[in-house]
């Protein structure tokens, strides 16, 4: 057990126990104000619990009993790095100096620290920006540099507090790809309310509601059979697995799905997954094969109410349509339909 965490904060109605194994990533899912950021604050050392402990690699970081602090390791000595919603790159330092900040602060020589920074920037494909000032970067670039900076500090535990929340939707796939690669062997906790983050970045999921863990387990299991209301609401993504063809994912049924692909070179035949939301899927009775679209043939199996929308379930996909659309198309179980989704709405990931 790398991280063992148990803490209560009665003022905030917070009572959470968590653990994360070496090299694993835990996603904390939950609505705003549920206590996700409180958990990270306690682990990072910006908040002091009323009761509880935080232990990392067998080293106690915090031990508090009934408000009395027995052990308190200050934030800088914890080897716990924090990545927030905003990149918070130091504005007076260049990109390279930002990434070198962690090693420098931990006593590395300037040349060694900057060499390490250049390696990290190389890893995220932004080496050409090393001499730029942070203010000249786009939001997505800045957040990727922030990831590199956090990892350059070689933390035992990386905390990511909704790292995509402040970014435009069209740059999140690139950051998600970067994180997926870099978090592979990193012990990390990521808070999010996006199920895609949980699915692609985390090995395990804990759902927090009202300051308590209401559900936890391996990501695929929680999302496949959600027990909490929150997990049920956010689960239900369309997943198509297959192999890489060079510009899309070929499913065993022979369909080719196009979407945002990883920035790296992929060998044809590599196992891949295409992911998209039911809300991004349109339903037609005839074939509207347009160039930017992926189109799938299907038979309606079930129609379920889902808030203001109707979820149309076909053989292997789901689509959310308005009740009016469902009525106009006279959708009933057994109707043969075409399902269509724009390539821009599809994220393609390596398995």
């Amino acid at each position: 057990m790398t991280l063992s965490f148990a803490a209560t904060l009665p003022d905030r109605g917070f009572d959470v126990e968590l653990d994360v194994a070496e090299g694993r990533t835990l996603a904390l899912l939950g609505p705003n104000g549920a206590g996700k950021s409180t958990a990270l604050g306690i682990a990072a050392g910006t908040l002091r619990p009323h009761d509880g402990h935080v232990t990392l690699d067998g080293r106690p970081l915090v031990r508090v009993a009934a408000g009395r602090t027995r052990t308190w390791v200050p934030p800088h000595a914890r080897q716990v790095a924090l990545l927030a919603q905003e990149a918070l790159l130091f504005p007076h330092l260049s990109v390279r100096q930002n990434v070198a900040f962690g090693p420098r602060s931990q006593g590395a020589r300037r040349r060694d620290a900057e060499a390490a920074a250049d390696r990290r920037l190389e890893q995220i494909g932004l080496a050409h920006l090393a001499d730029r000032a942070p203010s000249t970067l786009s939001g997505g670039q800045a957040q990727r540099v922030a990831v590199a900076r956090a990892l350059a500090a070689e933390p035992r535990l990386l905390l990511l507090d909704e790292p995509m929340a402040a970014l435009d939707v069209d740059v999140t796939p690139a950051l998600r790809q970067t994180l997926q690669r870099l978090l592979a062997d990193q012990t990390a906790i990521i808070t999010t309310h996006d199920v895609l983050d949980a699915l692609l970045l985390a090995d395990e999921v804990a759902v927090i509601e009202d300051g308590r863990v209401v559900e936890r387990g391996p990501t695929t299991q929680v999302l496949a059979r959600p027990r909490s209301a929150f997990a049920a609401r956010i689960a239900g993504l369309n997943l198509l697995t297959g192999t890489w063809t060079g510009d899309g994912v070929r499913t065993p049924a022979g369909e080719v799905v196009h979407g945002h692909a990883p920035g790296e070179d992929l060998a044809a035949g590599a196992p891949m997954t295409a992911v998209f939301r039911p809300a991004a899927v349109s339903v037609y009775l005839d074939d509207r094969r347009g160039s930017p679209r992926n189109t799938f043939r299907g038979t309606v199996h079930a129609l379920e109410p889902r808030g203001d929308l109707v979820r149309v379930r076909t053989d292997h996909l789901a689509a959310d349509v308005t009740p009016q659309a469902a009525a106009e198309l006279s959708l009933t179980p057994g109707t043969r339909v075409w399902l269509s989704v724009k390539a821009a709405e599809v994220d393609v990931y390596r398995d």
Binding site: A44, P75, A77, L88, H92, S105, R149, A153
Partner: protein
């Protein structure tokens, strides 16, 4: 927000009539300076400001103001840090006390300093035994100026620290930087413009200090007679010299303000 947006913004919430009292206020500040400038005897200006007593006063003023600005930095930066970043009972009271020299008449400040560091003062007697005499020395001038100038540095820097926020410091600590490293490499660079303008304001306030100095340090040429004291004394005997030296102080003050305006926050 980009620069273009700022330029195209319209002044919502600025009533037209506000320009009138604003212009009157501006005149009120500028007119006395113009009036004084008209009285300067330009033919003898150079000889008046370079007389032996004037040069002694100017050099003493610049030296003591520089020394008290240094003292303000040494004491004021940690004070601003504590006030902006720490939490302890009574911090609001501490924040108010720091502002006291700002609202106190400087003469009262001088008397208070006299009863602290004077020959019979609270600490003065002990210092006397140790062979240190402060009152009516150049050191007293520096103490008086530091006393009145310190709040300018502390408020200016505390405001800058609050505006900058602690978020960058949290990130720096999480990357493994010790508190002193965070201060040196993150906090101070971020509040650099605030620190600079605070230091310049303190310097300006020290340069203009009169009441506390004359009460606590006296007026001894070359030892405690700074430029404002020299101007005050000359006004009785040689009004032309007083006006010439006053203009010199105005020029220094304008240069100082221009210097503060140039600093811009990296945020």
């Amino acid at each position: 927000m980009t620069r273009t947006e700022q330029r195209t913004e319209t002044a919502v919430g600025l009533p037209r009539w506000a320009f009138v009292p604003a212009a009157v206020g501006g005149l009120f500040v500028v007119l006395p300076l113009v009036a004084m400038a008209t009285r300067v005897d330009w033919s003898s200006y150079w000889s008046l400001v370079t007389s032996e007593s004037a040069r002694a006063a100017l050099v003493l003023s610049l030296q003591t103001s520089a020394a008290s600005t240094a003292a303000c930095l040494v004491l004021g930066v940690p004070m601003a840090l504590v006030l902006a970043r720490s939490r302890f009972p009574g911090i609001d009271l501490a924040r108010s006390l720091v502002m006291v020299p700002l609202v106190l008449p400087p003469v009262v400040g001088g008397i208070a300093l006299l009863y602290t560091f004077g020959r019979r003062g609270l600490l003065g007697e002990t210092l006397q035994v140790a062979g240190v005499q402060i009152a009516f020395s150049t050191a007293a001038v520096v103490l008086a100026q530091t006393f009145v100038a310190l709040p300018f540095l502390v408020t200016s820097l505390e405001g800058a620290l609050r505006t900058a926020g602690a978020r960058y410091e949290v990130v720096a600590a999480s990357l493994g930087a010790r508190p002193t490293t965070v201060l040196r490499r993150v906090t101070l660079p971020l509040v650099w413009p605030g620190l600079l303008s605070g230091a310049v304001l303190s310097f300006a306030r020290a340069l203009g200090e009169f009441g506390a100095t004359i009460t606590f340090a006296g007026s001894l040429q070359g030892v405690t007679r700074t430029l404002p004291l020299e101007i005050y004394l000359q006004r009785e005997t040689d009004p032309d010299a007083a006006v010439a030296l006053s203009l010199l102080l105005v020029v220094v003050a304008v240069l100082v303000i221009a210097a503060t305006r140039r600093g811009r926050s990296p945020l």
